[in-house]
């Protein structure tokens, strides 16, 4: 396995957890949806960089190192998704920010243009090692790494702002910040490596290559664990709530039917084709309609239908 494939493993783990959560509970915030997209792009972008895939894609497209370009473009898309994930967490999120989309498209186009300028006739999973001595290759890598560094630094800054404003971010988020610092350092190392490679300073290339691998792996692990620190506890609680709510449906639906018969009125609950992801809305409607029908029938509201939460008291 190549270094990048090893680096993709923690990202695949997070992605798997997010997919399982989505399949079961079907609810997630926009921030988690974008994080999922980020993990998907980054995991595939890193995994694609191995000899079998490189050879296969080269054979299919007749472009020898198309896998490297695809991998980098996916990484850029992944970083775009990460920026969206952080943006989506804001109360007044603007997900269709033109400047962000334009920058991403410009970076992608620049990568494609620079890639076409690289003289790389043979497929390889070690693209930078083999062809890194050309100026277009160095610029190609530098553009990608700069974009990654800027996005990840801004994301880490948003997390730090979250700490300062008391957003209730757990300690695990610090790992994300440290991982982000590591990735910015990695970008600096990669750009320096590109420069010395073009300049032909072999000693510096050897030293920087040695540092590159541990910084890359450590950054990926820290970023993944840091992001998981937000996602996983929440996923576990969400699953618990979803399971409890399903029990409530089973016990309260007969109550609503009984009260509808007693009151002679019906509501919307049994007319709505509830989708699985709507379990919270469904529970809300069930509670409200049970109370309505109980009042109309002159009966007490069943205790299990009383859903008072601290959030509800805040709203009131």
């Amino acid at each position: 396995m190549t270094l990048h494939v090893w680096g993709s493993i923690p990202v695949w783990v997070i992605l798997t957890v997010l997919v399982v959560r989505l399949l079961l509970v079907r609810t997630q915030s926009a921030s988690v949806t974008w994080l999922m997209a980020c993990c998907g792009f980054v995991a595939v972008g890193l995994t694609i960089n191995q000899p079998d895939v490189t050879t296969f894609l080269a054979g299919v497209t007749h472009v020898p190192n198309i896998a490297d370009l695809v991998g980098r473009c996916l990484m850029v898309c992944g970083m775009f998704a990460l920026a969206q994930s952080v943006e989506a967490a804001a109360r007044s999120a603007k997900l269709l920010r033109v400047s962000r989309i334009v920058v991403c498209v410009v970076v992608l186009l620049t990568l494609v243009v620079l890639f076409t300028m690289v003289d790389a006739p043979t497929p390889t999973a070690q693209f930078m090692t083999v062809y890194g001595d050309q100026l277009p290759t160095a610029l190609y890598s530098a553009v990608e790494m700069t974009y990654i560094a800027v996005v990840i630094a801004r994301s880490a800054a948003a997390v730090l702002r979250g700490f300062r404003s008391g957003d209730g971010l757990g300690r695990m988020y610090w790992l994300f910040v440290v991982g982000a610092v590591g990735l910015v350092l990695l970008a600096a190392i990669a750009i320096a490596l590109d420069a010395v490679h073009v300049a032909g300073v072999d000693g510096a290339v050897r030293v920087l290559s040695t540092v590159y691998a541990p910084v890359f792996l450590l950054s990926m692990v820290l970023l993944a664990v840091g992001a998981a620190g937000g996602v996983l506890p929440d996923a576990a609680r969400e699953f618990r709530d979803w399971r409890d709510t399903r029990h409530r449906f089973r016990s309260l639906e007969p109550e609503l039917r009984r009260l509808e018969a007693a009151s002679g009125h019906t509501g919307l609950y049994f007319t709505i084709a509830w989708q699985r992801r709507q379990w919270r809305s469904r529970l809300h409607r069930l509670a409200v309609e049970i109370e309505d029908r109980a009042r109309e029938a002159g009966q007490d509201v069943p205790a299990a239908a009383t859903l008072t939460t601290a959030r509800l008291r805040e709203l009131s």
């Binding site: 979250g162 209730g168 996602v231 609680r237």
Partner: protein, 152 residues
């Protein structure tokens, strides 16, 4: 076949409600007071919330007067039901409903127009679906221990 048609119709009604709320251009998250302020701006006058004994099994009503509007809810409602009633009446405001659907109650009102939270017409049911969408926006259905935030 009828079941499929009904399910399809129900999904369509929910989609219409979602679109109605999306068209309001509200922030993805807002508080109930912020939503109320938005409704006041749509209506062009202040809305006063209060509890009042309401006739029959009415759970809420909305009365428009020349310089303000009254949104009344019964005092014996649970907090969840009360907020749901408020959202229902605000949904009427956002949908720019021209008047009262419930002629039976108009004789009881001192105002010019009124809405009530009753689900006895298809329109009232559509309004209720909009209210459920508004409930999502104000976080009424959110769990206690989770604030929205980065990666959450």
């Amino acid at each position: 076949m009828t079941g499929v048609r009904e399910r399809f119709g129900a999904r369509r009604r929910q989609a219409v409600a979602r679109r109605s709320v999306r068209r309001l251009g509200l922030p993805r998250r807002l508080t109930l007071p912020a939503l109320l302020a938005r409704a006041e701006s749509t209506l062009g006058k202040p809305i006063r919330l209060r509890t009042a004994d309401l006739p029959g099994d009415l759970s809420a009503r909305f009365i428009q007067r020349a310089d303000h509007a009254l949104l009344e809810t019964r005092p014996d409602l649970s907090e969840r039901s009360r907020v749901a009633c408020v959202l229902h009446e605000l949904a009427h405001v956002f949908l720019a409903d021209p008047g009262c659907d419930h002629q039976a109650y108009t004789g009881l009102l001192t105002g010019r127009t009124a809405f009530t939270r009753s689900l006895d017409t298809p329109h009232e049911q559509a309004v209720e679906l909009v209210a459920d969408e508004l409930a999502l926006r104000i976080g009424l259905l959110d769990p206690d221990d989770r604030e929205p935030g980065i990666f959450r």
